[in-house]
């Protein structure tokens, strides 16, 4: 039987810190993310205190049907005047190649367009990171730039690829009416940190729908 994949979004919370720190120190994660280990729990708690009061970013935890954490991601550098923000994600190193990166990316992009009301999402990938680039392109990200020699990897220059996704680039199959309707009907005016949780069910690799949404000041237990 085909296993149903689900990506649930909730705001990143203090309880997630140890898992995040574990991954950030994992050599299957940090070379692609620009973290420089060792990352400590204390520093990450201090980081969380800072970002909780920062309206220019939203940090999310993505869990699956059994509430295992499958990824951390979010939107940073939110510029409401232009309507843009920078996307990031890193997937559970024990769950690579299962499609959770793509499902989580789709969910976060939906969240950014529908809830944060952004016009554009962008990200910068290492040129040699072909799997990630293929995934972004499959969702509709367009290569807008190839910045030469913008990164050093073990003393060797690497190019960086700049990707942009306008609301209108988002692939047709990813913009389900049900999603829009639900967001429009039940959510208050889009302000970060008001919506604490909503659930997206993967129908197939290109389709999903909201199952539930929780609104409130406290993170749902």
């Amino acid at each position: 039987m085909k296993k149903e994949r689900i990506a649930k979004l909730r705001l990143f919370s203090e309880a997630d810190v140890p898992v995040r720190v574990g991954w950030m120190n994992d050599e299957r994660v940090y070379p692609f993310m620009g973290f420089i280990p060792p990352i400590s729990i204390d520093n990450t708690n201090a980081w969380l205190k800072r970002v909780n009061n920062d309206s220019s970013r939203v940090d999310l935890t993505i869990v699956n049907a059994t509430d295992e954490i499958v990824a951390f991601g979010g939107i940073t550098a939110i510029n409401n005047q232009v309507g843009k923000g920078e996307f990031y994600i890193f997937v559970n190193p024990d769950m690579h190649h299962q499609g959770y990166g793509k499902l989580s990316t789709i969910a976060i992009c939906q969240y950014a367009f529908m809830v944060l009301n952004l016009h554009k999402i962008y990200l910068i990938a290492n040129e040699s990171n072909i799997p990630a680039r293929n995934m972004y392109e499959s969702i509709g990200f367009i290569q807008e730039g190839r910045m030469r020699d913008e990164k050093l990897v073990k003393g060797v220059y690497e190019n960086r690829i700049y990707y942009g996704l306008l609301k209108t680039d988002f692939k047709e199959g990813l913009r389900l009416p049900i999603f829009t309707t639900l967001i429009d009907n039940i959510l208050p005016p889009p302000t970060p940190h008001v919506i604490k949780q909503y659930v997206i069910r993967g129908v197939n690799s290109l389709q999903f729908q909201i199952l539930t949404a929780h609104i409130g000041k406290e993170v749902a237990a």
Partner: protein, 191 residues
């Protein structure tokens, strides 16, 4: 034309120009720029390790323009250039000449690997200058900025040290930046 480091005595001219629409419209400054703030900016830059600001002059020492390399990342060897020319001396090719000197010191004295420059899409004159200077267009970033209410594209240009060919007409006498000044900058970069 000669190039030297920006000095305290240049502040008055810089502030006067920066408050003129023909300058600030293309530079992303938001006027009013004040003398006090610019003095504070200047003092801060004296110990900053990630930028160099220069003044372009004619042979009599009269100021023709200002420029610099900012956001220098010494590990990557990369920085971003800016230049603006006296508002009554536009269309004389001074922007190109100034930039040529700035690029020369960036690659030959500071030994940077790459210069980047981000230009507003509608600013065709500036884009043409980048291309004339040998910059390669590396990206057209869509809807990156709001200008007078409209979303506009930004053009990302890059020039690498290894593809740089210095113009033949640059002479040592045009470079009025001493070895002491350069080694101070490099020392700050090396921490």
């Amino acid at each position: 034309m000669i190039i030297r480091l920006f000095q305290f005595g240049d502040i008055e001219t810089r502030v006067r120009w920066m408050n003129l629409p023909q300058i600030y419209a293309n530079m992303g400054f938001t006027p009013p720029i004040t003398i006090e703030n610019t003095i504070a900016w200047y003092s801060k830059n004296l110990t900053s390790d990630n930028r160099i600001d220069v003044t372009y002059c004619d042979d009599n020492g009269d100021i023709l323009g200002f420029g610099g390399v900012t956001q220098i990342d010494w590990d990557l060897g990369r920085g971003e250039t800016y230049t603006f020319i006296s508002p009554d001396k536009h269309h004389l090719g001074l922007g190109t000449k100034g930039n040529q000197l700035l690029i020369y010191i960036s690659f030959r004295l500071l030994c940077l690997n790459k210069l980047s420059s981000h230009v507003d899409g509608p600013n065709i004159a500036s884009r043409r200058v980048r291309e004339k200077l040998g910059f390669k267009l590396e990206g057209v970033i869509r809807d990156e900025k709001r200008l007078n209410g409209e979303l506009i594209d930004r053009y990302y240009y890059g020039l690498l040290n290894r593809e740089y060919k210095p113009p033949k007409d640059i002479t040592d006498t045009q470079i009025r930046i001493t070895n002491v000044e350069i080694s101070k900058l490099l020392k700050r970069g090396a921490h």
